[in-house]
């Protein structure tokens, strides 16, 4: 096997591991955990190698599955954008896998190996969606990740079933809209390969075709449902809140981000800049909608009293950031969106991990769990604080720089509403997080000021290490923004923007 095979290994390793875990993991949980770690490390390694390869050559990698030339066969196409997202997916999956050991044991009563099987399948689905260059293959992988996430979400704490059911209905509507949209493209062009579609859709006749336009709208609506873009976000908060810790750590950062990636991929690799911003005359309205999403998500987050639910509404707001940025129709906005995929995934991961550790240790998920956490769990709370800073957008965490680009994009096109919404949500986030940090720092003030100090009761090292790595990544990525923007993000800006 040569270096050329790395793209497929990103997918195949977790896929095979899923079956291996379901076959052999039943005997001992440790074995299942070991297999999971091995698979995720392998996948991450392959993703990293792929990224390096892309960075070295600056040409997209085409991998022909079954050796068939596209458009007759399916191909994987790895360019800068999805090499980065692949690394992100497999990296987050690896960190969460390491982190999962104590919480899975505590929260999943039996059949841990099936849980890990689904974990691997979900990662396969996400990575596959990112890597593929075929519009229909994307649908199949969308369904794999959807099905495995239904299962993982349903195995949550308490009563997650109704929330999951709603998610199934919404998810299916989303996926079917996507499929229908692809059908419209197919009926007009006769192909499913993205590059081929791009070539064919560039023709004047296609640009004018109303079928193609409606196909585009359907695809976008489908993807928006999947990414919980306001006002299609209703399913997300309940489903994620009730999920078990590991599930939310895996799904919350990745699911929406991968959907955003897919949106970008379809906007610029299937359709074109001229089509998306020129033929469809609505990009301004979509930015307004995104601003609304940001405001609504932030305000809802402010109203929550449950840590995880609050974070889920923040995700809704962050989706607004990214959709808005992508539809600003300028380079800064788009660069901000791409960079925000990276930074938002990491900051959500850090926050969900920290909150998971706090819930794991205190057994509470309300704000009361935060009281005195600084003394009890200093490392965890440090991670939480850093994650919060990143969400607020305080330099030098990466959250600041993505916001920098997004706001700049807004200013350049004069979308003041979007700029205002971004700043507003920064402020709301600041309130949200400092309210929590205050609780964590001051403890319970209502009683006797300096009572007996709580004992130090930190989460186990398996949880701490991935948390600290993620938090460090927030700052490191922030400091290397220029590198990342220059070597990855700017390559993803499509020509003509």
């Amino acid at each position: 096997m040569t270096a050329a095979q790395f793209p497929i290994l990103i997918l195949i390793i977790p896929l095979l591991a899923a079956f291996a875990i379901s076959l052999f993991g039943g005997r001992r949980d440790k074995l299942a955990y070991g297999l999971l770690l091995a698979a995720m490390s392998g996948s991450f390694y392959a993703a990293l190698q792929t990224l390096l390869l892309v960075l070295e050559t600056n040409i997209p990698i085409h991998y022909r599955l079954g050796g068939w030339a596209p458009p007759y066969g399916i191909e994987l196409v790895i360019d800068h954008l999805n090499a980065m997202v692949l690394c992100l997916v497999s990296g987050c999956a690896l960190l969460t896998a390491i982190y999962s050991l104590p919480t899975v044991r505590a929260e999943i009563p039996d059949r841990i190996h099936h849980y890990y099987t689904l974990y691997c399948l979900l990662v396969t689905g996400l990575a596959g969606m990112v890597a593929t260059g075929d519009a229909f293959n994307l649908y199949v992988l969308l369904e794999i990740s959807a099905l495995s996430s239904y299962a993982m979400l349903a195995r949550g704490r308490g009563n997650a079933y109704y929330a999951t059911f709603k998610y199934i209905i919404m998810g299916t509507i989303g996926a079917c809209f996507y499929l229908l949209g692809v059908g419209y493209l197919y009926i007009k062009t006769g192909t499913l390969n993205m590059a081929d579609l791009f070539r064919l859709l560039a023709e004047e006749e296609m640009q004018q075709s109303i079928t193609i336009r409606i196909g585009f709208i359907l695809i976008m609506i489908g993807i928006w449902i999947k990414m919980a873009f306001f006002p299609l976000h209703g399913w997300l908060p309940n489903a994620y809140t009730r999920a078990s810790t590991t599930t939310s750590c895996l799904i919350a950062p990745l699911m929406t981000k991968v959907s955003v990636y897919i949106m970008l991929r379809l906007m610029f690799s299937v359709f074109s800049v001229e089509f998306v911003y020129g033929v469809i005359p609505w990009h301004e309205q979509i930015v307004w909608l995104a601003s609304l999403a940001i405001v609504a998500g932030s305000i809802s987050a402010l109203a929550q009293r449950n840590l995880k639910k609050m974070l889920t509404y923040i995700i809704v707001a962050e989706v607004g950031y990214m959709v808005g940025g992508a539809w600003l129709a300028n380079e800064s906005g788009l660069a901000g969106t791409v960079y925000h995929i990276l930074s938002d995934a990491l900051m959500t991961l850090a926050l969900f991990m920290a909150v998971g550790a706090i819930i794991h240790k205190t057994g509470k998920s309300s704000f009361a769990a935060m009281e005195g956490i600084f003394r009890k769990m200093p490392v965890t709370s440090a991670v939480f604080v850093l994650g919060g800073f990143a969400i607020i957008g305080i330099p030098p965490t990466c959250g600041f720089f993505s916001k920098w680009y997004l706001i700049r994009g807004g200013i350049e096109t004069g979308q003041w509403l979007f700029v205002g919404a971004l700043l507003f949500s920064s402020l709301i986030n600041a309130i949200i997080f400092f309210r929590l940090i205050e609780r964590a720092y001051f403890g319970d003030l209502s009683g006797h000021g300096h009572g007996p100090l709580p004992e130090r009761d930190e989460a186990p090292a398996v949880m701490l290490v991935p948390m600290v790595v993620t938090a460090a990544a927030l700052v490191i990525i922030g400091l290397y923004t220029s590198e990342i923007i220059g070597r990855i993000v700017l390559w993803t800006i499509p020509a003509g923007l």
Binding site: Y139, V140, A154, Y161, F165, I169, T172
Partner: protein, 131 residues
Amino acid sequence: MADFLPYIVAKYNYWAALVLLLIGLYGMIAKNNLLKKVIAMSIFQSAIILFYVSMGDKKGSTIPILLHGHGEHGALAIDPSQYANPLPHVLMLTAIVVGVSTLGVALAVLQKIHRVHGTIEEDEILESIEE
């Protein structure tokens, strides 16, 4: 009107798919009973399958299995317009499988809901959650 009628008639497959799709969509959103929602979901999916399949249809063609395909090489010249388009069929085989998988998962979750809430009527579930 004179133009309109052939317009409708010519695409009756599409209209059928459309009607089924809308029935399914409406059912998924509006039905109160969760099992009904699941059935609506199936209808919705099969409507899309119908749409795909009907676009692979060609007038005057036959099923996409080559008639004389027993040798190593089908040496005879093959006229593509004689056979129905196989690609939508392939895609829809996958879609059917996805559909039945989703159905299975949805039903499993539904049984769980019934076990926890004792009902599968949405309004009653919402009531019991609020309590």
